[in-house]
Symmetry: C2
Subunit: 229 residues, 2 copies
DNA sequence: TTTTGTGAATTGCTTCACAGCA
DNA sequence: TGCTGTGAAGCAATTCACAAAA
C-alpha cells in the first residue's frame, strides 16, 4: 500500500487518500498528551505508552500517525518534539490563526477568558454581538477587544483574513448569525447553540452541545431507579 | 494490549444486547430535534423527515430507535410526544437529577448561567471551589447557591443523592478533584479540563475540550497557506 | 532486543431491501 | 399507498501479526 514515497523536503500533506474522522479526532488528543510529555521532559515515547494513557491500543496509535506519513523510529519510538511539530502542521495549528466570536453572553465571556485557545494557536481578534447595549463594551483582560456590531463582521473577515468563527448566541439567533458568517467568507464554525445549522457545502461546522454530554453520562451511569419499565 | 472494557450497563429494557456508542450519541440529537418539532406542534414524524434534518439516512434513524424497542407506527411514523418521553426514559432524563459543579471560574459561572441544563433535566444543587476566597460567595441568578469548600463535597453527595459532577477546574487540579468526587460516590463526571483523567472502572467520564474542537475545524478548513513546506 | 509500519483478518457500524402492518 | 422493523450485505475502522530497522 506504500509506493516509494519518501517524505523529506517534499509532501506537505500529500497522502490524503482518505482519513477516518475518528483518527483526526484522536490526533488532537495525541497532541495534548505529547505536550504533557514534553513538559515533563520526555524525549521519546512509544505507541504503547501513548496509547496506554489514552486507553487506546498501540496499533491504533501507529496506524493513526501512519495515515499522515512516517513519524516514528523503529526500536526508539516517536521523538516527542518532532511529533508535536508534525501533528501541529497536520492540524494547521503550527501558525497562529485568527478567529472571531459572536455572542458576548456568559458563555462567550467564558470562552474569551479561556487561555486554552491561545495556547493552542487560536487568537480571538474580534468580538460581535447583536445587542446594541453591548456594542462598544470593552472585554476584560489583556485582549483590548471591543464588542462590535454584526454589521462590521464582513469587513473584519476580509481585513483580518479570519476563516473561523465561534458561535455563542442563543439557539434562536444561531442560524441567522451563521448565515452572516458564511456570507462574509467564514469557512469553519464552532457552534455552541443547541440547534442544527443548515450551512452550504464547503463550510465546516463543529457543534458542542453541553446538555448532550450530560445526557450521554446520564445514559452510561444508568437510571437512579433501577427497576421500572 | 487491550483497552479496558468496563461498562456493565444494567439493562433497563429487555433488549440491551449491545448498543453502538454512536447510536446513543444520536439519541440526544433526536431528542433535541423532536422537542423542536413538538414546539412547532407536529404530532408525528417519519424516520425520513427526522433523518433529513440531521443529515442521516432514514434507515439509520429507524435502526437507532430499534436498539431500544418498538417505537414507531407503520404507515404513520413516530408520534412525537410519545417518542420524546421514551427517549428521555432511555437517557435517564425523564426525571430531574441533581448534579454538582466544582470550579467557579469563568467557565464554571457560564455553565451555572446556562439554562440548557435545567431544560434538559439537570439541576445544579451545589457548587464547590478550592479557593478559600470564593467560599461563601453567592452565585448570581435565581439558584441561591453558595460556593462551598471541597471538604463538604462528600456530605453533599450522600445527602442529596448526587451521582454526576461537572468538573470546571484548571487542568492541574482536575485529577485531584476527580479523585475526591469518585471517593465521595460520584458515578459520572463531565470534564472540561484539558487533561486525561485516570478513573476507576465503573465511573463514566465525558470530556469536553474546547480547543480540540477548534483543532478539528482547523484541519477540515485546511491550511490558510496551501503550498509551503 | 525494542519498536515501527502495514497487509490481512476481524470487528463494528451503516445502508440496503423487503416483509409486514396500517 | 406509506412507513416501520430487521436480516443481509456492504463498508469502514480496529486489531492482529510479522517483516524490517535500529
Amino acid at each position: 500500500m506504500r509506493p516509494p514515497k519518501q517524505l523529506s523536503v517534499n509532501a506537505p500533506m500529500a497522502k490524503t487518500d482518505h482519513i477516518p474522522a475518528p483518527a483526526v479526532k484522536r490526533l488532537s488528543l495525541y497532541l495534548r498528551q505529547l505536550e504533557t510529555f514534553h513538559a515533563a521532559d520526555r524525549k521519546t515515547v512509544s505507541s504503547r505508552e501513548l496509547g496506554a494513557v489514552l486507553s487506546l491500543s498501540d496499533a491504533q496509535v501507529r496506524k493513526d500517525f501512519a495515515y499522515f506519513g512516517q513519524f516514528g523510529h523503529p526500536g526508539i519510538g516517536y521523538r516527542v518534539l518532532e511529533l508535536i511539530q508534525r501533528v501541529r502542521r497536520i492540524l494547521g495549528t503550527d501558525k497562529t490563526s485568527n478567529v472571531l466570536l459572536v455572542g458576548v453572553g456568559n458563555l462567550g465571556r467564558a470562552l474569551l477568558a479561556y487561555r486554552g485557545f491561545s495556547q493552542r494557536g487560536f487568537d480571538v481578534v474580534a468580538v460581535f454581538d447583536a445587542d446594541a447595549k453591548k456594542i462598544g463594551q470593552k472585554i476584560a483582560g489583556p485582549s483590548r477587544l471591543v464588542v462590535q456590531s454584526l454589521e462590521e463582521l464582513p469587513g473584519v473577515v476580509s481585513d483580518s483574513k479570519v476563516r473561523t468563527g465561534i458561535l455563542a448566541v442563543p439557539a434562536t439567533a444561531a442560524q441567522g448569525v451563521a448565515d452572516i458568517m458564511v456570507a462574509a467568507g467564514i469557512r469553519g464554525i464552532l457552534n455552541f447553540a443547541p440547534t442544527v445549522l443548515r450551512i452550504e457545502a464547503g463550510v465546516s461546522v463543529s457543534s458542542v452541545d453541553l446538555a448532550v454530554h450530560l445526557e450521554q453520562l446520564s445514559f452510561q451511569v444508568g437510571p437512579s431507579d433501577p427497576q421500572t419499565l
